[in-house]
Each structure stands twice: as C-alpha cells, then as structure tokens.
Amino acid sequence: MPETPIYGPGRVPVKLVVNGQTHLLNLLPSETLAEVLRGELGLTGTKVVCGMGDCGACTVWLGSKPVYSCLQLAIDCQSQPITTIEGLKRNGELHPVQQAFIADDAFQCGYCTSGQVMSMAALLERNPDPDEEAIRSAVAGNLCRCGAYPKIVRAGKRAAEMLRVSKEREAPGE
C-alpha cells in the first residue's frame, strides 16, 4: 500500500480497517464510505437516508470522531480505524448506549437508530458526565422522523449513568 493514496482514474487499491478487521478493496475514487460499508462490506446497519449530510443516519466513527459516512470518500478513510454500529459491542455485550436505547424505547421504526447510537456513544466516550444540553447537541445532527427524541434524551442519561456505575466498579475507592 503506497503512502499517499492513488486517486484514480478507475479503481484503486484501498485498505480500510473496519471494526478491527482489515479489508483490502479495489474501489472507485468516487465511492463514499457509506456506499462501501453497505455495498462492499455488507454492513447494512449504517443507513443512507439523504446522501447529502442533512440527517446523520449514516454516522460512523473515524477514529473516535463521529462522521457522516455519506460525505466521506472511502479512499480518504485509510489512515484511521472505522467503527460502525456492528462494531460497538464489547465482549459480546451491547454498548451501554444500545442497552439504554432498548430500555427507554429510544426508537420507533429504528432507521435512524444506528446514527443516533453512534453519535451518543461518541459523546459519552469523550464526556462521561454530560448534562442534558450536551446530550441533545450530540444528536442534534441526527434526524428522527418518528419523533423518538424525548426517549433518546432519556436513554442518553441512562447510558451515562450506566457507564459511571461500571467505571466505579472497575476502579473502586477513586
């Protein structure tokens, strides 16, 4: 794999690390990360709703940062690991945000849920003690047409609490 990516024309070799697994692919330079995740890799948990950065349904992590995968070219995503909703489980267990979404009914149709969960989980990874405003603004770029928003706020709070409790368990007395 060369240091600087080849930008075509035609298909070019691309190396992506997704959910801890390395994929060697031949992609058109115009292919978005969302298209590649869904089409090439079959990771259909990531949804494409608007395809133009309006709705956040396609949110994944590039490194630790949530990004709209419909606005990222796949060839530009080779330097950092990618995490999708399918890669959020730890030791076979759902991420606390996923557990909280289920407990609080923070979805209806569920089509925006992957994006909501990825945005919310990214917040909690960098700010384990968010106030309500931080929770709301973390998913302000994730549209939900069913209107699950009130329950999403509730789930965000529950997940933060779950993470706090589990951290206390890991490091007692601190």
């Binding site: 259909t44 709703v49 759902l94 289920i102 009914d105 089509y111 849920t113 209107g147 699950a148």
Partner: protein, 776 residues
C-alpha cells in the same frame, strides 16, 4: 364452525360494510378493573436489540446475488404530452439490462385507470420510463441517454383555480374528483346561521406536508421458481401481494411479500408502488433480482404527501355558547393521480354536538405528485380550521375556550346518534387543563420581547380496528411459543404487544414467545397497518388463538396427568392442579417433553365490532409557547398530550407514539411545507436540507397523559388505536397558544418567522392607526 358476518370497517376516516369470516369467540373482555400481569406493563420491545445493534434487515438492506438496480426517468414538466421516446442509446450502454416505457410496458391500468407509463405526464416527477442496470451509476447514466420528445402543456397547482372553466384539464372529464364535491348536511345551516347571535368565519390554509419517511419507498423483487418474492417497505403486505398478483396475472399464493422492518411510513406506504410492479416486470424480463428504491428527491416529489387545503369555515352560536351551525367548504389539492380525498370535514361533522352541519369537500386534481394517507388524513387539516375558529368564537362570546368546548360536548355521536362505546373526552380536557395550568395562564409574561401563551385543541378519530384478521399460536414440544399473523410492524411495537397478549392469555413467560409477522407467505391474512387499526384488530385475534392453544394444552395435560381439565391452570409456564387432594405442579415443558414431537396449534380470528355503538378515540392537547417578537420565532415550551384510547397495552411504546405524533404535528404547525415554484411547477425543496422537520433542538417538554381505561364494549382487549390521534390537535393548539401570547390569530401554517414578523408588523401598523385615528 366459522361464521360469515357483515361488519362496519373504518380505514382512515372512510367507513364501509364488509364481510368477515369469524370463529365463535372463546374469550370475553378482561374486566375493566382487572390488574393484568403482562398486558399494560412498560415492556421494552422484543425486537429492540435488532434495532439498536444494526442487525435489523430493512427492505432497503436486502442484497441478492445477480441483483440489478432500477431507476425511473421522470418528467421535468408538470404537464406534458409524451410524443416519442427513444431508448435505443440507453439500451446500448454496457451494463443496461432492460428499459421499459409506454412503448413496451403492459397496458394494465394503474392509478385512475391510466397505464403505468402513460403518454401524458401529469406532474414534474411523473414516471416516463424505467431502466434496470448492473449498478445504480449505470442506471443513472442510462436515464440521461433516453430521449423524450415532450410537448409541454399548461398546468395548474391551486385546487380552486383548477375548477375554473378555463383551467388546464388533467383528465378529459375535468379536475374535480367524481365530478362533484363530497356533500354532507344535517339540519338547516343557512337558517341556523341567520338565527345565530354570533357568527365567526375564516379562510384557513394548510400546507403540503411530506412524510419524508427515513427509508424511501422501494422494493427488492426476485423470482423463485414460479413464485415472485417481494421485499417491500410497506404498511400492507397483503395489499401489495394482491396488487402484484393482479398485475402479473398470478394466483395470490404465487406472490410472497416480506417486510420484517421498515423505516417509517406514516400512511404513505399503504398502497402498492409503481416501483414494485415495475421491479416485478423488470425481474421477469431480465431473469434477475431487481432493487428498485426511490432516492430522497423522488421520495419528496412522487411518494405521497398530506394534501394542502383551503377551508372556508363559518360557525354560528347562541349568546350562551351553544353551537347552532357549522358550515365548511374545503378544497384539497389531490395531485395528479390520487383517486380519494381525505375527510377534511370529519371534525366539523362529529366533534361537537351541533344540529346544523354542512360540509362540502372538493377534491381536486392538480399537477403535483399524488397525495396519500398521512397520519389521520383529513382530520389533521379539518381540526386545524375548526379548533382555531372555536377559539375565536370563544373570544367573541367572552367565554373561556375550554368552557365553550365542554358546553358543546357530544354525549352521543352526532353522525348517527349512537352512544359511544366509551368516551373520555371530558377527562382529557380536565387532565390536560390541570397539567398545563390552564387557570393560571393569565399570569404568563406577555410584556417583554419573548411572550408566553397557552392554547389547546381537541381530538376525535377512529381506531376501532375491524375484522378480518387471523392468528395462530403454536406451542412446540419444548413449550416455546410461536405467534404467527400476517400483520406488520411499522415502528409502533406490534411484535411486543402481540407477545404480551400471548403471554397474558396463554400463561407462559414472555421470553418463551416469538412473534412472526410481516410475511404474506404464512397466509394468515391481516389488514393493513393504517387507520390506527393494528393493535385493536390483530391483538384480539392473537388473544383468541392463545386461548384456543391454552384450552388444548390444559386438555392435553389433563389426559396426561389423568385429571379433569377443570382442575388445572397454566401460569408462568407451569401447570398446576389437584389430583386426589394432592397438589400437582409440573412445568409445561416437562409434560410436552415426554410426548415426543407434538405441536399444539391454536387458531384465532378477530370478532366483529358490536352494533349499536360508535367507537372513537378522544383527546386534547394543551400547549405553552414562547413568541420572540423581535425574530418572529415561535418556540413550543411544553405540550400536555392527554388521550383516551381505551386500555393501554404497553405504556412505554404508547407514549413513544404519542410523543412522535405531537412532534409531527409541531413540525406541521411551525416549519413543514413543500414549496412548488408557480412558474415551473417544480418542487424547490425536495430534500431534508430545505424541507424542515423537527430536530432534537426543537423538542419541547412533552407530558403524556393516558386515560388508560379499558373500553368494555368493543373487543376482547378493551383497547383502541393510538397511532394517529396524537398528531390531530397539535397544530391548532399551537396556533391558539400563539394568539394567547401575541394577540394574532393565524389562519395559515406553518408559522415561519417571516409570516410571524409580517403579522406583527401589520398588528403594529393597525395599532398606530387606531391610536392616531387614521383609517384604512
């Protein structure tokens, strides 16, 4: 022995009499006061993990070997004759596998008896041709190579303008659906208006609201032997099955429609899409699976919307507030194809006890995309005008708006004078008023630049459910239970409530139950998921099936244990009883385990609704808003949503539906509108960039109040639907709250900042004129 009955069926405000084949019922309604173990509890969704983990497969996620991608070529003109289509260059593009247009598509009639690809395009976005290719990119390239010779025709967008003699004709016999308005009249409206002490009137306009379901409309279609399999994002698997069967000339058992999950529908996915039939035809032609999904733009211009309305409304009353007359003339812009108009006059006809009511509803073809059902179609629009004018009437009479409504409460249905099976409207008024602080609204701050106000509005809607609907409850030999029925979950939590009902009736733990829905292959027919019908239709059938299975299990256990069946119970998966005065306790799994591979199959069907009662859902919403008079921004601070829909099967998922309805109603009131350029007839905001829907930052505090009282007179659950009711009162309640805040009565929505600022400016000008004595 099954019995053939005739029963009233109401779908989206339209009532019809239909046959249903039903079993003699085994169950009676649970007692109103009875505390149930599983039903009524806030059980998280049984399929929650699939939704939260990305594992749920939506129709748009389906990928099949050899699958082709299809796209429509759409008319750029709002009205044009398609003189000639040349597809030869598109066909020669490598990777293109089929092109279909009016020249080679079957002539079977589609909407309004027009062929699937007609020689006239009737809206900017109308389907002119379809292409199937190896990739989406190639399909898009191919569309650009199709040459169409269009003859642009004059077009019309406004429904009233479309009725003028010189208006462009969208169909040869005119633009008015059925050639006349839908007329309703009781009493003598003109006489009553003449005798009224006070008459208020107004012209109300509501915008085109687009569902914008996050998953676009679409299907993946493949042939498996002599059967066509359709993965469809649909609210109606059996409707799609029947339509595809009809189009392709197949028996219904040769069409299988599958929908495990769907990304929203809100009424827009009750019909069968042209894309589905086109995909089936292309799949047949190419011998390959076809994926045919719309993109976001197409979703906005061609996949349905709530029709815009203009409503001329007059209300007359006595000095004491008694309503004497309601007179409504409404015009709806149907778009180019939809052959029905929603019941805009519904609220005027049935919300209040009023002897003289006249509604003339003009449903008019216009050169935009077809309208479709959108969550409480008609009632959302009609309630808007009626409940704003009721507030104005209260103002003229010097009455409390809530008091005026209570005074005109209808104790029996004004439509047929039948008593209601149950009616909690007054309770929802009381509960809502208390929770918002209705009596203290005078104390709100109206002095600064941000002014607070409180308003309210009422809700009435159906939600009775109806036969036919069938269910099966299978108990495997390990005592695990499978519930099978042909309904579909549109995001409301249907699987969960069906599991709860089964657990309650059968007496087995919830985690032993698996619910299989969303597949026509199992053949257990159930109605479409619309009209707030699913829970109250399918739930009772499932309870019947569970009761049948339970009876068989008890019988079987009695024979095995050699006791009389009447001595046995089944609870929490355990058979208990008495044998020779000694208690027996044996797990059901233990008993069945000793019987080899037996299976117990319980069947159930939905009993008809009772005669002699009117079944409706009721509610009221109370809203506090804040209007910034410097920026024109209207912010909803708090919504109290108080609703009566009988027994609540699951308060967790029910409150989710209510919150969602409120938020869509808030979007309708404040920000949502499709904008069509009057010069070109083209939608200028066909995306989520410029068509605004509420985001997290718009969300107010929402308090959900459920009356939660079982209706003993309807079905074996005592439950009615809840999907649509919560969107109905939101917009007029917001508009009434805005009046309370700034003293301006808006009669058109959405309340965008420019509209609010314009009105504030006019208010100021007229204040100055009044102060200085300048007239005009």
């Amino acid at each position: 022995m099954a019995k053939l009955v005739k029963t009233k069926v109401e779908v989206e405000g339209e009532v019809s009499e239909e046959y249903a084949l039903v079993q003699e019922p085994l169950t009676t309604p649970w007692d109103v006061e009875e505390e149930l173990k599983v039903v009524g509890k806030p059980v998280p969704r049984v399929d929650g993990e699939e939704r939260a983990s990305g594992a749920a497969h939506y129709p748009s996620d389906i990928r099949l070997p050899g699958m082709l991608h299809a796209k429509f070529l759409r008319s750029p003109y709002p009205h044009a004759r398609v003189r000639r289509i040349d597809t030869s260059r598109a066909e020669q593009l490598p990777g293109v596998r089929a092109v279909m247009s009016k020249d080679n598509a079957p002539a079977t009639p589609w909407n309004n008896k027009r062929p699937i690809f007609d020689d006239v395009a009737r809206f900017a976005g109308d389907e002119v041709a379809a292409v199937a290719a190896d990739t989406l990119t190639i399909a898009r390239q191919a569309l650009r190579l199709i040459q169409v010779d269009y003859e642009p025709l004059p077009f019309v967008l406004d429904p009233e303008a479309a009725l003028h003699d010189d208006a462009p004709k969208i169909y040869p016999d005119g633009n008015l659906l059925d050639g006349e308005p839908t007329k309703y009249e009781r009493g003598d409206v003109e006489l009553a208006l003449a005798e009224a002490d006070v008459v208020v009137e107004g012209t109300f306009e509501t915008p085109t609201q687009v569902h914008n379901s996050l998953e676009t409309h679409g299907s993946v279609v493949t042939w498996e032997g002599d059967q066509v399999v359709v993965y469809d994002s649909t609210q109606n698997v059996f409707g799609v099955r029947d339509c595809v069967a009809r189009w392709l000339g197949l028996d219904r058992n040769r069409v299988r429609v599958v929908k495990q999950f769907m990304g929203g529908g809100f009424g827009s996915k009750l019909g069968t899409g042209k894309y589905t039939v086109a995909a089936a035809l292309l799949a047949k032609r190419t011998g390959r699976p076809i994926r045919f999904f719309l993109d976001r733009t197409e979703e906005n211009i061609a996949a349905g919307h709530r029709h815009a309305t203009r409503q001329y409304l007059r209300v007359g009353a006595k000095r004491d507030g008694t309503l004497l007359a309601i007179d409504l003339r409404s015009y709806t812009a149907l778009g180019a194809y939809s052959a029905w108009g929603a019941a805009v006059g519904g609220p005027a006809r049935e919300l209040y006890n009023c002897a003289n009511v006249r509604t003339y509803e003009y449903n008019v073809f216009t050169n935009i995309g077809p309208q479709s059902a959108f969550r409480a179609p008609g009632y959302v629009e009609g309630m808007f005008g009626l409940e704003i004018l009721m507030d104005e009437l209260a103002g003229q009479l010097g009455m409390d708006p809530l008091e005026l409504r209570i005074k005109n409460y209808a104790a029996r249905s004004p439509l047929n004078n039948l008593p209601y099976s149950s009616n909690g409207l007054l309770d929802t008024y009381e509960e809502g008023a208390r929770a918002i602080g209705w009596d203290k609204r005078q104390q709100l701050d109206r002095t600064g630049t941000r002014r607070r106000g409180i308003g309210m509005a009422s809700q009435i809607w159906g939600g009775a459910g109806a036969p036919p609907s069938y269910a099966r409850v299978q108990v495997q030999s390990d005592a695990s239970v499978t519930v099978i029925t042909g309904t579909q979950d549109i995001g409301t939590g249907t699987k969960t409530i069906l599991a709860q009902i089964t657990a309650e009736e059968l007496g087995v733990p919830l985690d032993k139950i698996r619910v299989e829905i969303g597949d026509s292959e199992w053949g257990l027919y159930s109605i479409l998921s619309g009209g707030s019908m699913t829970a109250a239709t399918v739930g009772p059938a499932v309870r019947e099936a569970a009761a049948d299975a339970k009876g068989q299990l008890i019988n079987l256990a009695a024979q095995f244990l050699q006791v009389r069946p009447s001595t046995l119970t089944l609870n929490d998966g355990v058979i208990r009883g008495v044998k020779r005065r000694r208690p027996i306790e044996k797990r059901l799994a233990e008993i069945l385990g000793e019987l080899g591979d037996i299976m117990v199959i319980g069947n159930g069907s939905r009993a008809p609704n009772p005669d002699g009662v009117a079944i409706r859902t009721f509610g009221a919403q109370f809203v506090e808003v804040e209007v910034d008079i410097e920026t024109g921004a209207v912010r909803v601070i708090k919504v109290v949503a108080s609703h009566d829909c009988g027994r609540i099967l699951n308060p967790l998922t029910t409150s989710s539906q209510i919150e969602g309805g409120v938020l869509q109603g808030m979007g309708y009131a404040l920000m949502e509108q499709q904008i069509v350029d009057p010069k070109t007839g083209v939608v200028v905001n066909p995306n989520l960039e410029n068509y605004f829907i509420p985001t997290m930052l718009d969300v107010p505090e929402i308090q959900v109040h459920m009356i939660d009282r079982a209706d003993p007179n309807i079905n074996n659950l005592g439950a009615k639907g809840v999907g649509e009711p919560p969107i109905i009162p939101t917009a007029p309640a917001i508009v009434n709250a805005v009046y309370d805040a700034i003293g301006i009565r808006f009669r058109s929505i959405p309340l965008t900042r420019d509209r609010v600022l314009d009105a504030l400016e006019r208010q100021q000008t007229s204040d100055i004129r009044q102060q200085t004595g300048v007239s005009g």
